[in-house]
């Protein structure tokens, strides 16, 4: 790629913050870590928020690995799931513990023929998912031949309309799956939010990046302890 040596105000550390499910937890953690977040908590329609020595970019979670790997931002908070799915080169500095979710394999409860039987018969099963890389890796590790169908949402519909035999999807409680009469057959992986950095920013801004990593990790540990106690 033609690297984007993006111009930024000198000395500012640029950080991508995921919108959506991880946003609140991220903002709270930044505050706890003593980071000046300016208007980040209530950004309105702004996508770029500058403070004294930081610049926050509010980004779509799945775009964050791209921003980080290509140097568009120096650091970011991103879910492990998104990082694995992107498969790009980023330095993972700290596990922040929050935003927990797990990837599971699920299939219809009342499948007329079990998926195993199908597999024995056809030698291949069809799997619908939003996360083709994670799904492919999971089945490859088990030596199971699958055809992955990539969909963009409502994955639990796929088996109901006959698009796929199984799905690989994220679940927090398993409720949506149960409501759609799907049962979990296998665990793929568990994911939490991570603090990541561009591999070169770790080197050229090492003190600030590593300092922030340490503060965030500590704040995350303190917050987790507080949540356990309460």
């Amino acid at each position: 790629m033609m690297a984007s040596a993006a111009r930024r105000e000198s000395g500012r550390l640029r950080m991508a913050v995921p919108k959506g499910a991880l946003f609140e937890g991220t903002v709270d953690l930044l505050v706890r870590a003593g980071v000046d977040i300016g208007e980040l908590a209530d950004p309105g329609r702004q996508l770029v928020i500058g403070t004294g020595d930081m610049e926050f970019i509010i980004a779509r979670p799945t775009d964050i690995p791209v921003y980080v790997a290509y140097g568009g931002v120096d650091v970011a908070i991103a879910g492990k799931d998104v990082l694995l799915e992107a498969g790009l080169e980023v330095t993972e500095l700290a596990d922040l513990g929050f935003g927990e979710c797990r990837f599971v394999v699920a299939e219809p409860e009342g499948a007329a023929r079990s998926t195993e039987e199908l597999y024995r018969h056809l030698g291949v099963i069809r799997v619908a998912t939003k996360y083709p890389r994670i799904a492919e890796r999971h089945f490859a590790e088990r030596g199971i031949q699958v055809e992955v169908v990539k969909l963009h949402g409502n994955i639990e519909l796929a088996p109901l309309i006959g698009l796929a035999d199984q799905i690989v999807d994220i679940t927090a409680s398993g409720r949506t799956l149960a409501e759609n009469r799907l049962r979990i057959t296998d665990e793929v992986l568990a994911s939490t939010a991570r603090f990541v950095a561009n591999p070169v920013s770790v080197k050229t801004m090492s003190e600030r990046v590593n300092g922030l990593a340490a503060r965030l990790a500590e704040a995350a540990a303190v917050r987790a302890e507080g949540e356990r106690d309460s």
Binding site: M1, A3, E92, R194, N198, P199, V200, S206
Partner: protein
């Protein structure tokens, strides 16, 4: 049809090509001054050859193709393995060490929609047949001097050694799978996973602590001492002896200020056995280049020999130069030479070139038209050749002073000084 280049490949036009050429030439001059000699290898290699050295990383990087015999080939993804192959085959009988240099294209496969190039130009060296601190220091010094010669003002070269991590893995006396996990986590720059593995049951406390600290160690000579102490506690204190010598040599060469000791330097190819190095420019999200010591690669080709080298990515270097306002200045043409008397034009052009002029021909053109042409190609002068003499045109296209005999020095010769003057 309207033809386009395939995804990830591009044409490089005049100005940019000239700038890339100038930067490459400056780097080549440094390599040459150290006694490195040019070599060329085929653009394709047998896939098995590359795979033997690169290992599993090749799967995702190789640009593969089949020939008519059904042989699996790959465009070279880098030059280290081709040069190791060359050293192990054509140079097998010759006494080393071999010092080789190149500036050439390499190819990497990339998934679509990632905006990634599939062809790069790399400038690099390989020092094959020499081991030890002196050889390592030579490679690091060459990288520093090459980047300086290219005109880059602000950069650092991070140096580390994979021996430290390997030493710690051995010292842990854990199952092989654990060691592989540690190596993989290090390659993926996944410090979270590294921390997790360091805390697994059975890992000696000293080693666990070392695995958490070592990838984060970064600084000057004091960092080598710190790492040495950590390693000593794990019973592998001797893994840094050579590295310490290397640093002393770089210091003696006056390069210590450019070099940062960094035991977190990880390279994505996993064939490195000792020194690893990587160059960074601020604001560029990717390293400028890197390399290291790969003593086992030649053994894969049945000609064991120690070896080290590095490559600089010319594309990335040009971006860093532009960011720092240090793009090489390209000397303009001295003249366009017109006139209706074609034999006179050719004969005058030869005399001018012999006097060091860079002259572009414009046979048949004259007057204002020729002056416009000179402006278009940014030549310093518009000249017209007549029988026996050459006349300068003024800006209105009228004949002005004839060119003196003997032919004067080319006007662009002093251009570099003028340019520098303007910049000041």
């Amino acid at each position: 049809m309207r033809p386009v280049t395939p995804r990830g490949f591009r044409d490089v036009l005049f100005q940019e090509a000239a700038e890339r050429e100038a930067a490459s030439a400056a780097i080549t001059a440094v390599f040459d001054a150290w006694g490195y000699r040019p070599v060329e290898t085929p653009v394709v290699e047998g896939y098995a050859t590359l795979e033997a050295a690169v290992g599993k990383a090749l799967e995702t990087t190789a640009f593969r193709l089949f020939d008519m015999d059904g042989s699996l080939l790959a465009l070279r993804p880098e030059m280290t393995v081709p040069l190791a192959r060359l050293a192990a085959s054509r140079l097998a009988g010759e006494p080393g060490p071999h010092r080789m240099r190149y500036v050439t294209e390499v190819f990497r496969e990339q998934a679509s929609l990632r905006g990634q190039a599939r062809q790069f130009t790399q400038a690099g060296v390989e020092l094959i047949g020499a081991a030890g601190a002196a050889a390592d220091a030579e490679v690091v010094a060459l990288l520093v001097e090459a980047l300086e010669a290219a005109g880059l003002g602000d950069f650092t070269v991070g140096i580390g050694t994979v021996r430290l991590l390997r030493g710690l893995i051995d010292a842990a006396r854990m199952p092989e799978a654990w060691g592989r996990g540690v190596t993989d986590a290090a390659h993926e720059r996944n410090l979270v996973e590294l921390d997790r593995l360091s805390a697994e049951d059975g890992v000696p406390d000293a080693v666990g602590e070392a695995l958490r600290r070592v990838p984060r160690l970064r600084g000057g000579v004091d960092v080598i001492d710190a790492a040495g102490e950590i390693a000593a506690l794990c019973g592998c204190g001797d893994v840094l002896t050579e590295f310490r010598e290397l640093y002393a040599l770089l210091d003696a060469a006056g390069h210590a200020a450019r070099v940062t000791v960094d035991f977190g330097v990880m390279r994505s190819f996993d064939y490195y056995t000792g020194l690893v190095l990587e160059a960074y420019a601020p604001g560029l999200g990717l390293s400028l280049g890197g390399g290291g010591r790969y003593d086992r690669v030649l053994a894969e080709f049945d000609a064991p020999a120690p070896a080290a080298g590095f490559a600089v990515g010319i594309e990335r270097l040009m971006i860093a130069l532009a960011e720092q306002g240090a793009t090489p200045c390209i000397r303009p043409l001295d003249a366009v030479l017109g006139g209706g008397d074609a034999p006179a034009v050719f004969s005058a052009a030869r005399r001018l070139r012999e006097a060091g002029w860079r002259v572009r021909l414009a046979v048949g053109r004259d007057g204002l038209d020729l002056v416009r042409e000179a402006e278009r190609v940014q030549a310093e002068e518009a000249l017209v050749a007549e029988a026996g003499r050459v006349v300068r045109l003024d800006r209105a296209g009228e004949p002005a002073l004839p060119l003196e005999t003997p032919t004067p020095a080319p006007p662009a010769a002093t251009w570099g000084d003028r340019e520098r003057g303007e910049r000041r």
